[in-house]
Amino acid sequence: MTPNSFISPQPAYVPGEPVERHVADEELVWTEDEQQQIAAFRAQYPTHDGAVMKGLWLAQDKFGWLPPEVIQFVAETLEIPYAKVYGVATFYTQYFKEQKGQFVLDVCTCFSCQVCGGYDILHYLEDQLGITKGETTDGGLFTIQEAECLGACGSAPMLQVTNGPYVHNLTTEKVDALLADLRAGNMPGFQSVTLPQDEDELGGNRRSDTDAVTTYQTPPVSETLH
């Protein structure tokens, strides 16, 4: 874009304009099990507002992403204003407001990852998949996104797969292996990354990729819901 051809961006949904539907009304129902989960979320907080994030998360798990009708469905379920839930959903990048590929690869290019080659990894991925960041491959298998710090700077560069497992200490070979695994339908497992205090346990090797320690494991967030 040349500097003078500026056109102001539009909001994602222009007020009052019809919104394209992606999920049919009859699909907008919770199963018995989901209803119980929602009841449990609500019980955790003094007001219904508190359950909004978990509610959205559950909905994203169920529908794959959060089109407006799903956001509205969550709002109605939790009896909180639609606009408010929409505001929360747009605040977090981990809530998908657009349809994504089956595997979303969030490549960190924030400071630590950047100096350790985060952009190289990002561009390598882009070359391999023939798309650029923000895009989804034709078959709908992969989406590449650029992410800010995901809190794993110690094992930079890294990426996250669909809000789930992290893949640490990336190299092009590891990217190739990851893509092959994912194409075969295998999600990477959770991998423990050690902290300085584990060094003794690991014989001084804290850049190890071994899944040696279990002490500090936390399961991926998506799994904590089930």
Binding site: S8, P11, P15, V19, Y82, G87
Partner: protein, 571 residues
């Protein structure tokens, strides 16, 4: 009483308040954006920061710790505090930007940061001239910006709903607008979307901001991000005069400011009166502004022909004097207390009867808040003068034997209380504000009436609060009372006017007159002059003599009105 020390000065305070509001009440200005007295306190703009602390006390004894000079040692908070959210505590010591360079620097830095992504398009922004961001950046901000990169771009010209337009680039994310819809109207139509420097208020997908009170967000918005659709690019703020008065939209008596340029009402905004409308007004009450400018009846008429006012007075007086049947009068819930009162006196003069006022009560129109069931502003004022809601069948039966019907500021045909046919054989004298008045074709004498924005007077709202009208725009023949009320001397126009001066402009003046000018003219000609020097004296007399108006003098009513004694239900 507990005390707080602000910039070295002691102030006594009542327990339970916050520091910022207390300072504002004391006349100590501290810059702020997100704080609004009617909304919750999120402390998100960070503009109101001050340095604050408490005197140190010995933990063991509870005694104040003093330094070598015997002065108390103050334990300051390690970081500046947002005064809007800081509870006042006895003994608290506060340093504002007036006293502390550190605080002044913090506030300047905050403003510099706020302006990083602000478009600085003040020259084309409707808010310029009344913009807290502009004013406070000018007073407390840095001289320039160190930000040399392309600013973040956000949606502009977004029609959020029928009445409100958003320019997201100007937004500083104070959340006043979203808090208004969440806390005041509870329509929850707005929410801040997205994150960081890309966020702005927006409706949920597919929905619009159609809250009946939506335009209050434009008043709340401390920048030009939310503007009233009807007023965008109409006039610069400094080209308009702003007159505190009362809305004639319904019986609520909403306190407003009328914004005038070239003798046209361009905008109406709420004026704070915590006993009436707090800080708010409904959109519908703003959108009536064109009524005051358009289709106005101009110049006196006799039998439809334009005549000099004097001629019309003579004719009306003749009609009243020569009446061989009964003379009927209709008061008006649109006219002021003063005009209605003078009407009753005129009726006495000619031995006529005031039948009542036409009621505009519409069951279900109201919303239980600022929109009332009663469409007219002054039914209560009429009731207090003993003028009752008109019974249409009574009017029609009385019309049979009547020779004159005198109507103050109203339109009985359009109101449906009588038809043109009912007026056969009756001479009608009419005060009418609009050329579209449906009774006008039947009027023998028509006096164009000054509307609430052009007159001086009093409305009594449905809760019995007497409130003053002030003239906001000039009429063709300004008399001394109007001149004085508008704060200008007789000869100001030719001497001191500039093109931006409201007194300079002679266009768009409506050739009309208030009832308190016309009715005494008639009384003069009927040999019973009314010796009032203007409407203020009329009200003085009422306040003195009529218990339903006790205390309602102009000085007492001033800007916020006077709550009148309850007179009970009309008999």
């Amino acid at each position: 009483m507990p005390q707080v020390f602000i910039d070295g000065q002691p102030y006594e305070f009542e327990e339970g308040g916050k520091l910022l509001q207390f300072c504002l009440d004391q006349g100590i200005e501290i810059p702020h954006f997100c704080y609004h007295p009617a909304l919750s306190v999120p402390a998100n703009c960070r503009q109101c920061q001050v340095k604050a602390g408490l005197p140190a006390r010995d933990r063991a004894t509870g005694e104040l710790v003093t330094d070598e000079n015997g002065l108390p040692v103050i334990n300051y908070f390690p970081k500046p505090q947002t005064s809007c959210s800081l509870d006042l505590v006895d003994g608290m010591v506060v340093h504002t930007q007036y006293d502390s360079e550190e605080v002044a620097a913090i506030q300047a830095d905050n403003l510099e940061m706020m302006l990083i992504n602000h478009p600085l398009d003040c020259p084309i922004c409707d808010q310029a001239g009344q913009c807290p961001l502009q004013n406070q950046a000018y007073k407390y901000g840095p001289e320039g910006s160190r930000f040399e990169f392309e600013k973040v771009h956000k949606p502009k010209r977004v029609q959020l709903g029928p009445n409100v337009v958003l320019d997201a680039e100007r937004c500083i994310n104070c959340t006043r607008c979203t808090r208004f819809t969440a806390e005041v109207t509870e329509s929850h139509q707005l929410s801040i979307v997205n994150r960081g420097d890309k966020n702005y208020p927006m409706t949920a997908p597919g929905q619009i901001l159609d809250d009946p009170y939506s335009m209050n967000v434009c008043d709340l918005c401390p920048v030009g991000a939310l503007t009233e659709d009807y007023f965008r690019f109409k006039a610069r703020v400094w080209e308009m005069s702003k007159t505190p008065s009362v809305s004639d939209f319904g019986a609520k008596g909403i306190n407003v400011d009328y914004w005038v340029r070239d003798n046209q009402i361009l905008r109406i905004t709420p004026r704070a009166n915590l006993d009436v409308n707090e800080y708010w007004m409904p959109d519908a009450a703003r959108l009536v502004y064109e009524r005051y400018n358009e289709n106005r009846l101009q110049g006196a008429r006799v039998n439809g022909a334009a005549v000099a006012w004097e001629t019309a007075y003579d004719e009306a007086a003749r009609v009243l004097k020569d009446a061989d049947g009964s003379v009927l009068f209709l008061g008006s819930a649109w006219a002021t207390v003063e005009d209605n009162y003078l009407l009753t006196k005129l009726a006495d003069t000619v031995g006529g009867e005031v039948l009542g006022y036409i009621p505009y009560h519409e069951e279900g129109r109201g919303d239980g808040w600022l929109i009332s069931d009663d469409r007219a502003p002054n039914a209560q004022g009429c009731e207090r003068l003993g003028i009752r809601a008109l019974d249409a069948s009574l009017l029609q039966s009385k019309l049979a034997g009547a020779s004159v019907l005198y109507v103050l500021d109203d339109d009985p045909v359009a109101a449906g209380v009588l038809s043109g046919a009912d007026l056969e054989g009756v001479t009608v004298i009419l005060h009418a504000s609009h050329a579209t008045n449906e009774t006008l074709p039947h009027a023998a004498v028509a006096f164009p009436a000054a509307m609430c924005v052009e007159t001086i007077g009093t409305y009594v709202n449905e809760a019995g609060r007497a409130q003053r009208l002030r003239p906001a725009k000039m009429i063709r023949s300004m008399n001394r009372s109007l001149m004085m009320a508008m704060g200008t001397g007789q000869s100001r126009i030719d001497r001191g006017g500039t093109p931006f001066d409201r007194w300079h402009d002679v266009t768009n003046k409506v050739d009309c007159l208030p009832g308190w000018t016309v009715i005494p003219e008639l009384a003069d000609r009927l040999g019973r002059p009314m010796h009032y020097k203007g409407p203020e004296r009329v009200m003085d007399e009422l306040a003195e003599t009529n218990p339903a108006f006790t205390g309602a003098t102009y000085p007492a009513m001033d800007l916020l009105g006077v709550a009148l004694e309850d007179i009970g239900e009309p008999a």
